[in-house]
């Protein structure tokens, strides 16, 4: 599917989404509580068939967090970027997509470790790199470490 067709089909599916087409891929911005059913549809509907999650990350935009999922379909060879907005930065929570793509497990552990996003229904949520008692989430913009050197 082309970008335009993807956009039309997704608008039919979820009328409340907003789009950003400035980049290479079609960016779909949704609210965090809509994520799991929306992702399930993207995976299961044969016209989308996004079977491959190739990049999962998070961005700290100061007043909110943005989860970013890069998806590609191995059958149709089209890409899409789903951005889920988490407004609560004190106690961020989002549904895990591990039940759809198994690769999410370690990637979500990484995001939990470095951004503090709690993934609901994750099979084994743990700090992947840092110790369990580490304070703060290093990739957050407001993270302060007194040993950090300004370059």
């Amino acid at each position: 599917m082309t970008k335009e067709e993807l956009k039309n089909n997704i608008t039919e599916l979820l009328p409340s989404t907003t789009f950003d087409e400035t980049g290479e891929f079609l960016n779909v911005i949704i609210a965090s509580d809509e994520l799991l059913p929306f992702m399930k549809t993207l995976r299961s509907k044969s016209e989308f068939d996004f079977d491959y999650l190739f990049c999962l990350t998070c961005i700290d935009l100061n007043n909110h967090l943005m989860m970013v999922y890069h998806l590609i379909s191995k059958t149709h060879n089209h890409c899409i970027v789903i951005k889920a907005k988490i407004t609560d930065t004190i106690k961020p929570e989002i549904e895990s997509v591990n039940s759809i793509w198994k690769t999410a497990e370690l990637n979500e552990d990484e995001v939990y470790d470095l951004f503090g996003v709690k993934f609901l229904n994750h099979p084994n949520l743990r700090r992947l790199f840092l110790e369990e008692d580490w304070e703060g989430y290093p990739l957050r913009k407001n993270y302060v470490d007194e040993n950090m050197i300004k370059l």
Partner: protein, 372 residues
């Protein structure tokens, strides 16, 4: 916090820790292995022993500087990591790289793939108890390292590919040296075949061991030779060509076996493809500039940029979110090794503890790329 499943419930079950200093994990990876006798029930990777916060550092470095940190990620694919970063900057600035630089980049990238696969082949033998392959493979790898030393000034962390082209022109000896090494590799190929590929004991260790199905490989996000050995078209050089790969004739090596033996064969065949790519290019490197002029301070336009390349281990993606400043707002490296590692618990389930070493060896992880 111990979960219910972490407890040992039956007699004869136990937990062993493989690593962080185990020679077969090639770096400081800690695998917690639940065993029932000799059979693996569950594997859980623990990481972070060499985490250097490269992504956080990149938020403070300029677009010229952040390339240097990436050589330290997958240090066996340093050229290709640099290439990914250079390409994402060029994509954002819409820079056209001179043809000479493109040709040099491809040759360097393929030399990297050769050197990396040779090191894998060497260590693979070592892991499975054969010491001799190490010396055979390092003979050729040393010759490649010497080419890099002459042209780039470094043997491991080259930092040679920069936004706009390559850092400096090739050494006058470059063409002759590369041709000599290609001849050497082709002449010695039969030794590789005789020593390991045709070795029955070695084959028995790999055939039918560590099966990964196509569906699982997709679900676990595997890329590179690991995915291609399960029959997935995942070569970025073919799917999303960059730097002129679309003009070069080469085959994507596929194997539907899915076991350790298939992964072994894919890498061996890839080495031959790399030699063929280099031979196509080495005599027709175009004359001209090796770099386009870029501004001293590079500032990317606002927006998101994603660039992927095929490293020796799979798809490396560089995802940059720019706010228009001289350094990235957020920089994420999509590591091929993290995804391949996530498949190891699945591959190892039900295997014997001795086969875990063979599985680790054929998936070929480089831990600093996971602990970015």
């Amino acid at each position: 916090m111990l979960l219910e499943q972490n407890h040992i419930t039956k007699e004869g079950e136990f937990v062993i820790n493989m690593g962080p200093q185990h020679p077969a994990t090639h770096g400081v990876l800690h695998l917690k292995v639940w065993l029932d006798g000799e059979t693996i029930k569950k594997v859980e990777p623990h990481l972070g022993y060499i985490h250097r916060s490269i992504e956080k550092m990149c938020e403070r470095l300029s677009y010229r500087q952040f390339i240097f940190t990436t050589s330290r990620m997958d240090y066996l694919s340093a050229h290709i990591n640099n290439q990914a970063c250079a390409l994402v900057v060029e994509k954002a600035l819409q820079l056209e790289v001179p043809p000479r630089a493109k040709a040099i980049r491809i040759i360097m990238a393929e030399l990297t793939r050769l050197a990396s696969h040779q090191l894998w082949w060497a260590c693979m033998g070592l892991d499975l108890g054969a010491v001799t392959p190490f010396f055979y493979a390092f003979r050729e790898r040393e010759a490649i390292n010497e080419i890099w030393e002459e042209t780039c000034g470094a043997r491991l962390t080259q930092n040679y590919i920069v936004p706009g082209g390559v850092m400096m022109d090739t050494h006058p000896n470059f063409r002759k040296r590369v041709k000599d090494v290609m001849k050497q590799i082709k002449d010695k190929a039969h030794e590789y075949e005789e020593l390991l590929t045709g070795n029955v004991i070695f084959q028995e260790r790999l055939k039918g061991v560590g099966y990964l199905s196509r569906e699982d490989a997709i679900s676990y996000g595997c890329t590179g030779p690991t995915a291609r050995a399960s029959g997935i078209n995942s070569d970025i050089r073919k799917l999303f060509p960059y730097d002129g790969y679309e003009q070069i004739k080469f085959d994507e090596v596929l194997n539907s076996g899915g076991d350790c033996w298939a992964r072994y064969l894919v890498r061996i065949e890839e080495m031959k493809q790399s030699v063929s790519i280099i031979e196509q290019l080495i005599d027709i490197i175009p004359e001209g500039d090796f770099q386009v002029k870029t501004k001293n301070v590079i500032k990317l336009p606002k927006g998101d940029f994603y660039q992927r390349v095929e490293t020796a281990r799979g798809e490396l993606g560089v995802y940059i979110v720019s706010d228009g400043a001289a350094s990235p707002y957020r920089c994420k490296f999509r590591s091929p090794n993290l995804s391949n590692l996530s498949a190891i618990p699945k591959i190892a389930e039900g295997a014997k503890i001795g086969d875990l070493v063979a599985i680790m060896a054929t998936v070929d992880l480089v831990i600093p790329d996971i602990d970015r």
